[in-house]
């Protein structure tokens, strides 16, 4: 079974942990949390992510910079804005992005 690595970026630690817990529960998906712009840039170099979810807390400028960085580093990486804080929308967002 191939594990699908998913990067989740946002500054609200409890919400990020909730999102990670929900993603990891799937069994095939594995979440990595980044709580800052700098950490997200760094961790992206070390893992082969199949999806990046951008949650709450980054500034618009940071979101744009992060997208530009990811696009340059790995153009095929889907980058999705996550809404809702790990609740009922998460699975649809991931399914849509990976399909």
């Amino acid at each position: 079974m191939q594990i699908i690595e998913i990067l989740i970026v946002g500054t609200n630690k409890p919400i990020m942990e909730t999102i990670a817990r929900l993603i990891d529960k799937d069994g095939v998906w594995k979440a990595t949390i980044s709580l800052s712009f700098d950490d997200a840039c760094e961790v992206c170099l070390r893992k082969d992510f199949k999806l990046a979810l951008i949650g709450a807390g980054l500034t618009d400028e940071q979101e744009s910079q992060l997208k530009a960085y990811f696009n340059k580093l790995k153009p095929s990486l889907p980058i999705v804005k996550h809404y809702g804080g790990g609740s009922g929308l998460l699975f649809a967002e991931i399914h849509q992005a990976l399909s």
């Binding site: 500054t11 709450a56 500034t59 809702g84 804080g85 790990g86 009922g88 929308l89 699975f91 849509q96």
Partner: protein, 238 residues
């Protein structure tokens, strides 16, 4: 020419958790239908029934406009902003989740179920400071007219949210017909029938049917039987 989409009540997703029965017009949690993700900025329309004494434990939200409209019974709300409130039929509650909030909602009546609509809209602004509000709606006012219960404007009727959306509730007597005029170009309207039977753009709608209409400036709604319904005008592009 107007474009439309019909979601019959019996085609909605259904989740039965024992304490919660949820009928979902759009993909939510375990219900995933790629054909039904959203209607413009309207992302969630859950028609929920919560067993007496039960409810949603503390859980987070961010970057979402969350509107609750109780239809029967009451829910006790508690959140990380320090708000504790009871919301009951005849009221409307709104939360802008913004940078993140935690909340819980319980049916405080141990015996009777609480029925309510849970509606989520994508915000037009991310990472706002979270906020909460609830107001009492004047039930007698909505007979044979559209009563605005939500808008983007803080000084307008109803609650307000971070989105160019307008919600109206209405209760039409049989044969009543009215034209709804959209507030903003580019918006569409999702009509949700609470009870009774209406006709919109030639389409007959029954209790709990949903009908989206866009690419139009106005449309007529006619009551085929006594009916109550909710109109959710939302941006189609956001």
């Amino acid at each position: 020419m107007a474009q439309t989409v019909l979601h019959k009540a019996n085609t909605r997703g259904v989740a039965n958790h024992g304490w919660l029965k949820s009928y979902q017009s759009f993909s939510f949690a375990g219900y995933y239908n790629p054909e039904r993700i959203n209607f413009g900025a309207l992302r969630v329309l859950n028609d929920d029934i919560v067993t007496g004494g039960m409810g949603f434990g503390e859980h987070p939200h961010d970057n979402m406009e969350i509107i609750s409209i109780p239809l029967e019974g009451e829910l006790q709300h508690k959140d990380s902003m320090g708000n504790t409130a009871t919301i009951k039929a005849g009221e409307i509650q709104v939360m802008s989740a913004g940078t993140g909030i935690y909340h819980s909602e319980y049916n405080s009546d141990p015996k009777n179920p609480a029925k309510f609509l849970q509606i989520w809209l994508f915000p037009n602004k991310r990472n706002v400071t979270p906020r909460y509000d609830q107001i009492l709606l004047n039930d007698t006012d909505k007979r044979n007219k559209f009563i605005q219960v939500l808008s983007p404007n803080a000084n307008d009727a109803g609650v307000w949210i971070y989105q160019d959306a307008w919600f109206n509730l209405a209760s039409f007597d049989i044969a009543t017909a009215k034209t709804y005029i959209l507030n903003k170009k580019g918006n569409g309207v999702y009509v949700f029938v609470l009870k009774g039977q209406i006709e919109v753009d030639g389409q007959t709608l029954d209790t709990r049917d949903g009908f989206g209409i866009w690419d139009t400036d106005n449309f007529e709604i006619k009551a085929i039987a006594d009916a109550e319904f909710l109109l959710m005008e939302v941006p189609m592009e956001f």
